[in-house]
Point group: C2
Chain length 210, copies 2
């Protein structure tokens, strides 16, 4: 079940070039046609790599898509540092709005969310991606706590979920438009909840007594 090829990660080597070509082609096709209609054959054709090579290395369409999502997740992102919690959150929410609405950019994250419904391995790749994003976003709350804007035990992941949740909810659940105002409202809601102390870290099992 490994997707690593032993001893072949020499950067710039032929194997590495092949890997990059295949994964880029997979991301392109995922954005264009989605997981349902993506085939290993089409990836082979698009990348110019023989399909037996693709199968030997990634085993299946599922393995290929999961590897491509991990590869595509590699671009750097770090939260803005404006000096204010609500402004940092607004920038983060706006980054999400733009990533999910800008033609030419929105296709891949949308296809990734969709693929996760259809493939457990794609879902794992998506989970890892958002764990990484949550870890990076945590800086926003850590800095706000250091400034005394929010309680020291504020859970950064809960703030991120409170801010990003409504943006994704509008786009993928209630199917409503999103805008700069959506980002603004979500950021203010997350900041207000954090300031009120309701997004503090909870002890395991706490809150389950409902």
């Amino acid at each position: 079940m490994t997707t690593e090829l032993p001893g072949t990660s020499r950067p710039g080597g032929r194997t590495e070039r092949t890997r990059v070509a295949v994964l880029r082609a997979t991301l392109d096709l995922l954005a264009e046609v989605g997981f349902s209609d993506l085939t290993v054959e089409a990836v082979a054709e698009r990348s110019g790599v023989h399909k037996t090579t693709v199968y030997r290395r990634w085993e299946s369409r599922e393995g290929l898509v999961a590897a491509a999502l991990r590869f595509g997740a590699g671009e750097p992102w770090s939260p803005a540092d404006t000096g204010s919690l609500v402004a940092d959150l607004r920038r983060m929410a706006l980054d999400v709005v733009l990533a999910l609405t800008t033609p030419g950019q929105r296709e891949l994250p949308t296809a990734a969310v969709l693929a996760a419904f259809q493939s457990e391995r794609a879902a794992e790749a998506l989970r890892d991606f958002y764990q990484d994003r949550h870890a990076r976003a945590a800086l926003i709350v850590e800095r706000a706590a250091a400034r005394g804007e929010v309680p020291a035990d504020t859970d950064p992941d809960e703030v991120t979920r409170t801010v990003c949740g409504p943006v994704f909810y509008r786009l993928f659940v209630s199917r409503e438009p999103v805008s700069e105002e959506t980002a603004e409202i979500a950021a203010e809601a997350g900041a207000a909840a954090a300031r009120a102390g309701v997004l503090s870290r909870r002890l395991p099992g706490n809150g389950d007594g409902g």
Copy 2:
């Protein structure tokens, strides 16, 4: 493009029984196999209705699924009235958590969210469903405003999005588990944001200057 058959809505009549059989079969199959693998032939077989009848009335798989989602949305839902904003919101969030996690129940709403990625008509049906739910949920905020718990101009839809967003975000985006604690935190965040006055109705265009 109509999905209505003129002059045939006599309740209990043969046409109505056929309609119900076909739409129930469509919902069952959607939950079982999803939109990608749903066929009009399978719906015809499952419902015992000839496929030419299905095509004549619903025209396509897309029309059939959209009609089934509207039919399936018909079950009544109304928010709990506990006398407190946060407790009402907690019950609503918990209803969402249970609907999306209980085996035997979660399959249809999950398939509906997925189908909306794959079919514009399914997306329209989903949008109408959530507009209806938002309208019903508005009672929670209206009662809280009448009690003086939140500002009178609080936007009930924004409160609903703030509460439900993180639940869906965990399940369908960051692919994290949800629990009673998820519902609790989301409800408290929505209530805190509403109380702080950041979920008030905005004038059109307001907030876009951010």
